[in-house]
Symmetry: C2
Subunit: 387 residues, 2 copies
């Protein structure tokens, strides 16, 4: 077997660019350098203690067998209750599909819907796996250039103008990675009405749900009954390494996702599912809301620090834990800038290149997934080395 | 969104047929009936205590973050050592890709290799997900009818005769589900030489490796440097619900699998990986070898019992934990027979329908994943009700 044995899709799927930079950062750390990590899309907090305790209790008996492909009924019901308690939305637990992380959820959603040669609109910049999963199932991802003027989110007008005969679907994310911006509910509603009228698919990525700073905690469930909604235990719930997420699928479509899940996964991790049952308890929620406050403070520290450096973040992030900074005025392309910041200031960041093809040299993503003191230090290091 | 929004592949992918029967079995249990479960491809043993302890130790610190997409280096090295210690094969740990179960491994292997409209040979009967994953990536699974005359395994001659211009690859399994038969090493070697000469792909499923009763413990690694090898912590290692498996990929191809793994999964479960580090310790190995002895005894009890009933198992299973019984002489199609055994004897089994399209009404799969006493009782119940 050599490269000629690979399917053509393999050539078109690109690795996460930041991995190269991360490898270099690890090398530097191994050589004794102190690196401030602002490149990683992963909360730095440990798993909340009640979740760890639930997992420990469960595995201590050793009965770690397969669950149904759709996940534990009790967990699907707990998620439905969460939507009801927090968002005042009634959702039938039968519409909830537990998955191996949000990655598994996106994989199922694209496998179920992407037709060969069907075109899908994906906002650029956006999470890179969306376009690669469309390609994996032989669809054609079409970058929908979005910029700071519309909060890096597509507008209903842009989508209507971009939709044509071959267009099959659209993936949006709110809050968005890499920009942290959100889709206005009325815009999402209009987009959903449009894609439904066109008989197209709409996938809404809500994996940063719960991590919004202000009053905008929201779910597409409230307006988008025909959409497939992707969610995750990784970000707000702080369970990255457990690999657990979920889909909410339109009423009446669960069986299709169930059979795909059987063959793709058999079932999601049983350990993670029993752990996640503790994610909705008052004790865990109190911990998560406290962390959200900490993220909010870090965000202020980072945004103020960047402002003090004269680095512009054109759209104030409303959610997630990223700032998408415009580094063009500094005179270096963002990849060169990321290398410079790493080598000279010991600050790891992610260049825009990972998030699309539209003007990727202009922006740098900084994640506030490290503590306030380290963020402040990163700003001072950049000040010292860059200017 | 309605059924017209699904991709055409969804129509062609069938659910596990046994699920319907399992649902009925659960109903009967809820109504107070005692059901003997011989339908499930899952060992009944708890996770070995040293694995549970390793997991508990790891999660107690709460630092359950993402690992690299290829998995923990320490686990990849542990697997390489296992191949060396047990099979006397040197394998570069860089060729090992840790995955979300063997399902995740098969998903990566098919995503990497299956070309649209490429034809793949899959032995029939065989594990149903193989053909559905080929279909998922727009390839065309071609059933390769195998029967008791060749131990339900394809011969090099059959493959040569079936391979033509559009053929792109072949998936074989040894030991096989549903038959428990193995590919003779010399046949596998000849098959590998043939597919390599043709520039085709060969995927070898070894997820039941370690569970062979006799002297035939073997790995395709010893003869098939161009094959993609699929393995699992679920069966021999007894870790089903943890969802962990691995691939061994040909030298020089790891990067392609890595980028697919990044987008499909981000990474496998961190908890499962730290747990699995304890799977290769002498303490765990002693437990697993003891369980293998128990499986071997159960196998004898089941095979002797079926013989006493006059039910023929045409090929003595060498591995896994299944017997594939020929029920045609009993005068009922295997689906009707499975329903009859469930309703009248309270014994759940899996009809051949799940494993292919070739003569599926003839065979019934019985799993010896329940203890010897229950197997003996199942035989007596069948004797009482069936004859």
């Amino acid at each position: 077997m050599d490269s000629s044995n690979f399917a053509p899709r393999v050539d078109d799927i690109r690795p996460f660019q930041v991995m190269e930079l991360l490898r270099r950062a690890r090398e530097m750390e191994a050589a004794g350098r102190d690196i401030i990590h602002m490149e990683v899309g992963e909360p730095d907090f440990p798993t909340p203690a009640p979740i760890v305790e639930a997992a420990t209790r469960f595995i201590s008996k050793g009965h770690v067998h397969y669950t149904p492909a759709l996940g534990l009924t009790s967990l699907r019901e707990a998620i439905a209750r969460y939507y009801s308690d927090r968002y005042h939305i009634d959702v039938n637990p039968n519409r909830i599909v537990i998955t191996a992380g949000a990655s598994g959820a996106l994989l199922l959603a694209t496998a179920a819907t992407v037709r060969p040669s069907g075109e899908w609109l994906v906002p650029d910049p956006g999470y890179p796996s969306n376009r690669h999963l469309i390609r994996a199932f032989e669809g054609i991802p079409i970058g929908l250039p979005v910029n700071a003027e519309t909060d890096f989110q597509p507008t209903p007008e842009l989508i209507e103008a971009s939709w044509h005969g071959q267009t099959q679907g659209l993936i949006v994310a709110s809050p968005s990675n890499p920009t942290g911006t959100v889709l206005e509910p009325e815009n999402l509603k209009a987009i959903h009405e449009f894609t439904t009228r066109k008989g197209g698919n709409l996938i809404v990525d809500e994996i940063y749900q719960g991590l919004t700073y202000g009053s905008r905690d929201f779910t597409a469930l409230s307006c988008c009954s025909h959409a497939i909604i992707v969610n995750s235990f990784s970000k707000y719930f702080g369970m990255t390494g457990w690999r657990l997420g979920w889909l909410v699928v339109p009423e009446g479509t669960t069986n299709a996702f169930e059979k795909l899940a059987q063959h793709f996964f058999i079932a999601p991790s049983t350990v993670a599912q029993y752990a996640a049952l503790a994610a909705f308890t008052p004790a865990t929620q109190a911990i998560l809301e406290e962390r959200k406050q900490i993220f909010s403070q870090r965000r202020s520290t980072l945004l103020n620090g960047l402002t003090s450096l004269g680095i512009d973040v054109p759209c104030t992030p409303i959610g997630a834990f990223y700032a998408y900074a415009d580094v063009r005025p500094l005179g270096l392309d963002s990849r060169a800038m990321a290398n410079h910041l790493l080598e000279d200031a010991g600050v790891a960041t992610t260049p825009g290149l990972d998030f699309g093809n539209q003007d990727p040299g202009r922006y740098l993503r900084l994640a506030y997934t490290t503590d306030e003191g380290r963020i402040a230090e990163a700003i001072e290091r950049i000040r010292g080395r860059l200017f």
